[in-house]
Symmetry: C2
Subunit: 345 residues, 2 copies
């Protein structure tokens, strides 16, 4: 039987669909590749006890960042932090990074220096080595790509796919602040563009803005999990909004989930500022992103190890696949989760 | 004493100077990093017997390639080939790649498909796994970045720095053809732009053009060296012109060299076509690049192992540092080598 191939566009596919479409013909040839495309990192055989983890991110000017309000130093830090987060999401330790930078001639040497100041700062904070990369000129704009190399004990690796029904869904930190930080920066940009005499009013919002400009990947959470002797059954980092990450975990694990609106962790500033922007904190959490918090599942018997720990919030649990992925609102009604995360295509 | 810091620009520094300038503050923190910036790959501890090699390249539209005459399929192949060449230059085996692609909305899905067809073809030819990466939209143009992960026996790793005075300088393949291929493509582009009715005349030049569009990294040479039981004392791949690569080997090894014009390997087509472009084959070899041939040194006692082998040409030898890096022309006169390789800044 012939299947008519549907004409598809990049917009229809979305970022994840596009990657799947382009890489479906690539099968690992055996050798040292343990796990290829479809998780936060690829996994490579290292030695008897550990795997090498590798991942690669790219950030493009005017797609991922706007230099009208993103200082280059912060951009350098954020690019590294976001890349390392992929290694932490596999329960690994990041060890090295490679950086590629391409910039048009409008960027003088001082711009490169500022960018690398942020990169070196992140290397120091997260204890990783910058071991190489590439620099190039570009016809237009600025591109920063970070590749990360990490390591994980074979007994501790966490894939997206490892959850089981009734495992508890746990989140580090809180949600929505980087998204609100972005709203503030965009608002002040509009104000400035309409009247360049007005100075941006950012002091009042400095924590929210910093959460957007300089998010910190959760190396500390990986260390805490290790100290608590918890190996999550599945894990992912929150970069594209909670809804998208929950769907990834459920799809990969062939599971459903129930997540409870009244369990979601919000900072007080999020509650206040969401109102100011006519947004609900729930929207900021579900469709915001860039928190680089860790979302993971644990078996119920591990629950006493995290109970009452202020770094963690239990937001729901996995169910069987045919129960679907649901957000249970404050009235007890179930709403199917939809990924409305950040789409740049 | 105060040193007055000279005001520098990116142009003054050049690509290699810029990388050195930006990374001079980065010191490896111990851990698993064996060798950081300054060779074809960074070197990471793997297990008792082997190291992991990592490298990252970036190619930007209208800087590294012109889509007026570079088919996307060839671009995908070349991007992978060029990246793998860095692993071969350390005497290693390439095992995995990560790809980041960013493209403006002028690139439809079919363009991505074509690019990935070339990427998959290269993966198949060189027996490597595509294990991940990132795709993004871009405000303008096309960017392709390839990161490569490889492996090398500790007893076989070749650094740029390992040469000794009197070691012989050996080159695989021949020089200058990709550069002449580029001249042909640029000429046909000018002809086409001045009169779009004229069809490009490329058949006559198809080998030269293919050497430019689809260069093949020399995995076979690494295998041959292994079969011949040769471990080069130093090695580099020829991407920026022979002069630039010789200077890298000499600088890193604190050595001089004598290289003989009449020993340089040229294909018959190079001799013919250089004349047509009013170039000397020597200029094409010294300042061309993109051959992705391997330039290495061996101790004289290994010479019998390669003597008469058609894959290899002995082009000269290392000397002590204060004798300088010289090209000895056909009249026996020594000319100090200058890197006039491809500068994109």
């Amino acid at each position: 039987m012939h299947e008519k191939r549907a004409a598809k566009s990049i917009k229809d596919l979305g970022e994840f669909g596009l990657i799947e479409h382009l890489t479906q013909s690539s099968k690992a040839k055996g050798g040292s590749t343990i796990f290829s495309i479809g998780d936060d990192c690829a996994v490579i055989e290292r030695d008897g006890l550990s795997y090498t983890l590798v991942s690669k991110d790219v950030m493009m000017e005017n797609i991922h960042f706007d230099l009208m309000y993103v200082p280059l130093k912060h951009l350098g830090f954020k690019a590294v932090s976001a890349a390392l987060s992929d290694v932490f999401a596999m329960n690994g330790t990041a060890e090295q990074i490679l950086i590629a930078v391409a910039a048009s001639s409008r960027f003088p040497l001082e711009a490169f220096e500022e960018l690398y100041e942020g990169i070196h700062h992140a290397c120091s904070v997260f204890d990783v080595d910058l071991v190489g990369g590439d620099t190039s000129s570009a016809a237009q704009g600025l591109m920063v790509s970070v590749s990360v190399i990490g390591k994980v004990d074979k007994s501790k690796i966490c894939y997206r796919s490892g959850g089981k029904p009734n495992d508890l869904l746990i989140l580090s930190g809180d949600l929505g602040r980087p998204y609100l930080g972005l709203q503030i920066l965009e608002r002040e940009k509009s104000v400035f563009l309409s009247n360049p005499q007005i100075q941006p009013e950012l002091d009042r919002f400095d924590v929210l803005v910093k959460k957007q400009l300089m998010p910190s990947a959760r190396k500390d959470i990986i260390e805490l999990l290790s100290a608590l002797e918890i190996v999550p059954t599945s894990m992912i980092d929150v970069s594209d909004g909670l809804a998208s990450e929950l769907l990834h975990l459920c799809n990969r694990g062939k599971l459903g989930c129930n997540v409870y609106e009244n369990k979601l962790p919000f900072h007080e500033e999020t509650l206040l500022m969401a109102t100011e922007f006519n947004l609900t904190p729930l929207t900021c959490a579900m469709n915001g992103g860039e928190e680089y918090e860790l979302l993971f599942s644990i078996s119920q018997e591990d629950y006493p190890k995290i109970q009452g720990n202020p770094h963690f919030t239990t937001i729901g649990h996995f169910t069987v696949e045919n129960e679907g992925c649901n957000l249970i609102d404050n009235s007890g009604t179930a709403h199917p989760l939809k990924a409305q995360g950040w789409r740049h295509f």
